[in-house]
Amino acid sequence: MDAQRLRDSFSRVNMFGDEVPLFFYSDLFIRHPEVRDLFPISMRSQRDHLVGALAQIVSSVDRADELTPFLQGLGRDHRKFGALTEHYDAIGDSLLTTVAHFCGDGWSAELAADWADAYSLISSVMIAAARRDEALRPAVWSGTVVGCDPRSFDISVLQVKPEPRLDFLPGQSVAVESPRRPRLWRYYSVANAPREDGTLEFHIRLIDGGAVSMALTQGQSVGDEVRMGPPVGVLTLDVTSGRDILMVAGSTGLAPLKAIIEHVAMLPAPPQVHLFFGARTADGLYDLPSLDKLAAEYDWLTVTPSVSADSRHRGETGSLPDVVTRHGSWSTRDVYLAGPTELVHETTTRLTSAGTPRNQIHVEDFGWSEP
């Protein structure tokens, strides 16, 4: 396989933009109509994902050390979408047809061999990773909504019982799919440490125009079914550091941090934890009663709520990074951050410039998937 020749042909094909994935999926669905069911109605973001993944694969096709973990992740990740080993051949056929089509006169026997070799390498790594994963855990967990608690007009707290039991680390997330939005998966953090009855708590905020959050906040009721993927995420408690902890949660970013607080509570000698919980207005502080209860129960826990867009509010007001830095320097603490991207970014910048080493700051890394 000539990696450079492969890359050149890909960049030539890629100039046709959206037409390329469009052709690919249409070709696939005409030859294998049964595969269409594995995809959502709108294929817009699906096509972007495909091109993004292909670009990454093609650029590192001759660097196995880089490519292999990426492909293994993809292979495992595709299990929850219902991808089966036999689908891989169908996809390979359509991929080669698509590249050939857009290469036009530039298509040759050597190029065909390059692409066939590359694809068989890609698919074998993905299939092997999926098989290994199959031995460890189910592709999806079905879940029943056992509690549904609307906290404000746009925030709901759901309790879901998965079947079978779903093991995870406090702070991790799972992908959730509602039957009302088939084939659309969104990641949500579990807001608790593992419980005896195995239930998971999700804090869901209605995103304007958000298809899945709308299905999960509006008209959701006890007894409804959802599906969940395996737990993912790196925002988990570092039990070895021994440092005290600063937590900053914006809105439903509280979920993973609450799970980590429950984890801290299980330690023999819990460190001091100071949690700042911020929202635009007071009714966005949707979980304050339960946090107050925790703070009353644990003497190592301090909770400071703050509100950014209501100057009448009695209590802390201002932007969350301001409020946090106003309360002192936190350079000796481990920091756990979650919330809207800008908030996480801004808080990280402020804390590092105030002396907190970057490696003491823990944030979720959603770089590999759609949040």
């Binding site: 959206d18 249409s26 005409i30 109605i41 009302r180 304007d208 298809a211 509006q218 009448r312």
Partner: protein
């Protein structure tokens, strides 16, 4: 090898138009209405997508005909103008167009629901701010009244040296008046607050209903289409 239109990588793409953001003009300087600019950009994006699609299908057709001619020359016959392979490419094109239409339906529904929720949210904030303002006003007026009453009570003769029966009666009357007054204000405030809460509830329900409707239409695209045909 055909040199195609697409080889210039510096060209503007629909995605770039979709994602562009302009800096806000400085205070005191006039700028365009943001909503109008956005709406126009959406239109431009749609137009470019359409043009790109047309261009690619023309390119496909040219390629197809070119190949036909070459294979005809090689085999010495004129060849068929529309073979089995062409039929497949044709089918792919038809399905692609159907998919793009579906994508557009979903995107439109999503944009509509986005606008709706955004409006509902700002309307809700408005109602709450109004209620708060009104409550402040009522409170202020009530406390001003109370202050006046207190000053009046101080200035009036002490009850330790009671004056005439009429004075006492007047004080009693005043007290009764203030009590009634306070009650009126409380009732007033309660009625107003309840009214506000009711209107927020109603707004929420209406919002939920219409959001549900929109998303159902988006999700059940095929059913929706069928239902419209039946009508």
């Amino acid at each position: 090898m055909t040199v195609a239109w697409h080889e210039d990588q510096k060209r503007l793409t629909p995605k770039e138009i979709q994602e562009i953001s302009f800096p806000v003009s400085r205070l005191g300087r006039r700028g365009y209405d943001e909503d109008h600019v956005r709406a126009f950009l959406r239109q431009v994006e749609q137009e470019i997508v359409t043009l790109l699609n047309e261009k690619v299908s023309l390119w496909n057709e040219v390629e197809r005909l070119r190949r036909r001619i070459i294979s005809g020359m090689k085999s010495g016959t004129e060849g068929v103008l529309f073979g089995k392979e062409d039929a497949h490419v044709h089918a792919v094109r038809i399905l692609s167009n159907a998919q793009l239409t579906a994508d557009r339906y979903v995107a439109d529904a999503q944009a509509y629901s986005h606008r709706l929720t955004e409006e509902a949210r700002s309307r809700r904030d408005e109602i709450l701010a109004q209620a708060q303002e009104h409550a402040d006003m009522v409170l202020e007026e009530a406390s001003a009244r109370a202050r006046e009453a207190a000053i009046e009570a101080l200035n009036s003769p002490s009850p330790a040296s009671p004056q005439t029966e009429t004075d006492r009666n007047a004080l009693r009357a005043e007290l009764a008046y203030l009590r009634a007054f306070g009650e009126v204000y409380r009732t007033h405030l309660r009625a107003y607050t309840e009214g506000m809460l009711r209107s927020i509830d109603e707004w929420e329900q209406r919002e939920a209903r219409s959001l549900e409707q929109t998303s159902l239409e988006a999700a059940g695209l095929t059913d929706f289409g069928r239902a419209r045909e039946l009508r």
